[in-house]
């Protein structure tokens, strides 16, 4: 891209600035990681922690078993996987119907998408709570799955992907006698894997990080999802809760548990997420 040239002074300044930026982002993360793998004693020692002084999994053991974070972890796994699959399924179906130009309900859907994307979710926080309550969904995983079940953003993104699929494929399938649903599953879904991957990843991250919905709808501790459970562990208030003090290594181990899914998903994120953002942002 750039022709080979002697590195100027400015090049070094810029490189230095980038290294500083890198340090500023890595150091907090490193600190958290290092503490999480430190022994109880090492984690409370003063000084800079960028590497465990004494390696130990005590923090993780306490966080997982004694604080019981294994349960919220499993709850989150459940809500995230079911929620993401349903989200993609419903979004794909809606996107497909937008393709059919002579379909009367198309206009209504476009209007609803536009409406829901203009009004921020937080603004209907309280009325939404009332709706969930009157549906008897308080304190259920269903409430969490239903929260954000359909999103205009997803439908539009998938719609744009589906549009690039040649109509001839769909027409050929129709001639073979396939109904709309079959055309969707046999023609459009297989050819839109990048779009589906982007949507899926986006949704997995979003659902795993869900905080406000669980906060509003869940009161049963055994149903708490990971971020909600994490809050009482990592947020240190002035008053220490009745139990014994939670050590830094445990707290940071809990944080790592809070991002665990993202670590697994990260390599895929590199590939699809950034494309998805650029697509989404330029859509504004």
């Amino acid at each position: 891209m750039r022709a080979r040239q002697r590195f100027t002074g400015t090049d070094w300044v810029i490189t230095g600035a980038m290294l500083l930026l890198l340090a500023g982002t890595i150091i907090p993360l490193l600190n958290a990681l290092a503490l999480s793998f430190s022994s109880n004693l090492a984690s409370v020692q003063p000084g800079i922690h960028l590497w465990p002084r004494e390696w130990s999994l005590q923090g993780y053991a306490v966080a997982w078993r004694r604080l019981g974070l294994w349960r919220p972890f499993l709850n989150s796994l459940y809500v995230t996987s079911v929620g993401t699959l349903l989200h993609m399924f419903l979004g794909a179906m809606a996107a497909y119907t937008l393709l059919q130009k002579d379909f009367p309900a198309r206009r209504l859907m476009v209007f609803l998408i536009f409406l829901t994307m203009s009004v921020p979710g937080e603004a209907i926080m309280v009325p939404l709570y009332i709706v969930v309550r009157s549906l008897g969904l308080l304190n259920t995983f269903t409430a969490l799955i239903v929260s954000g079940l359909v999103s205009g953003f997803t439908i539009l993104l998938l719609f744009n992907y589906f549009r690039t699929v040649p109509i001839s494929l769909a027409e050929a399938a129709r001639i073979d006698g396939a109904g709309d649903f079959a055309i969707l599953t046999r023609v459009y879904l297989p050819t839109s894997t990048p779009g589906l991957a982007a949507v899926g990843l986006f949704e997995i991250v979003g659902r795993w990080n869900q905080f406000t919905a669980p906060l509003l709808y869940l009161t049963d501790h055994t149903k708490f999802t990971v971020q909600l459970a994490l809050r009482s562990v990592v947020v240190v208030n002035d008053t220490i809760s009745g139990m014994d003090v939670i050590l830094p290594n445990t707290r940071m181990a809990a944080v790592v548990i809070g991002v665990s899914i993202l670590i697994i998903v990260f390599p895929f994120i590199q590939k699809y997420f950034i494309q998805g953002i650029v697509l989404g942002a330029t859509k504004e």
């Binding site: 419903l90 309900a105 921020p120 937080e122 603004a123 309280v126 990080n209 905080f211």
Partner: protein, 293 residues
């Protein structure tokens, strides 16, 4: 009737999404609007009170304080949130070592993927007066530990810094994508004309980034109005007076005090402010933006 039968499958396919929007988007919106004109008793009985809720919200001292906080935090987050990623993206574009550039992009982008509980947890530890890394450095420099997140003087700048730290990598990716899509012939022609690096940045790159910057500006402003997680997680008794924002006010009013009428009224004030801001911004941008840019 025949038309419905012809599209039966399509209707079935679109039904779940339609039902969802109706039940969880449109209905709460309408119901919330109606509730904002009512007073809901403990037994759920509703009483029409007209604009009384709105009057109570606007004359509530706490609401005024919350608006000030939102403006304070918002101004900081928007200015940094728009400018810092731009600088990062331009600088990244100029970095001669491709591996360093990719690594920086990936690492700075990561905090965007974390929830505020996670980011909050990481930074609470870092800023802790009891062994946190930042205070350890302060002690090494001869100072005494500062309880940043409980100190009303420090807490707002810290909030702004944390929000910037979390999102700058993500916004930088957007800017960087825009820079990468610029027509290289402009740059080549400029080089032939003897233009230096800074000249090129000032006269070619930056002007063409104005549309992207406008988009980032609108996005950031809207997200500032919706701010909830960060404040809810990081606030405490000492700082709540100076960092509570519009949405935490709504939450406290509706979910803690169960003043449903007032809470929904406050929510709609937020919605109206948001819509007004976006409309004004869009209009301003259409006037400012040079034609064709």
């Amino acid at each position: 009737m025949r038309r419905i039968r012809k599209h039966l499958e399509l209707y079935l396919m679109i039904a779940p999404a339609l039902v969802y929007f109706a039940l969880f988007s449109v209905y709460p919106l309408i119901q919330g609007f109606l509730t904002s004109f009512q007073e809901i008793g403990l037994l759920g009985n509703a009483r029409w009170v007209g604009v009384e809720n709105y009057r109570q919200v606007f004359t509530d001292f706490a609401f005024g304080q919350v608006v000030i906080n939102t403006l304070w935090l918002g101004f900081g987050m928007v200015s940094l949130g728009v400018i810092v990623p731009l600088i990062i993206a331009v600088a990244l574009h100029e970095v001669p070592f491709a591996p360093l550039r990719k690594l920086t992009q990936t690492i700075t982008y990561t905090p965007h993927l974390f929830s505020w509980v996670v980011v909050g947890g990481i930074w609470i530890q870092l800023l802790s007066p009891d062994g946190g890394l930042v205070n350890e450095l302060v002690k090494m420099a001869g100072g005494s530990p500062i309880h940043f997140l409980a100190n009303t003087a420090w807490v707002r700048p810290i909030f702004i810094l944390l929000a910037t730290w979390k999102e700058m990598g993500y916004m930088a990716v957007i800017y960087y994508a825009a820079i990468s899509s610029l027509d290289p012939t402009h740059f080549e022609a400029a080089t032939v004309d003897g233009a230096g690096r800074w000249d090129k940045i000032r006269h070619i790159t930056l002007p063409q980034l104005v549309p992207t910057t406008m988009i980032v500006l609108v996005l950031t402003i809207v997200s500032t109005l919706r701010m909830f997680d960060q404040v809810f997680i990081l606030r405490n008794a000492a700082t709540t007076r100076v960092v509570d924002v519009l949405m935490t006010y709504v939450y406290d009013l509706g979910m803690a005090q169960f003043e449903l009428g007032q809470a929904t009224a406050a929510s709609f004030v937020v919605v109206v402010i948001g819509l007004a801001l976006v409309t004004v911004l869009r209009r301003l941008m259409r006037i400012d933006a040079p034609s064709g840019a």
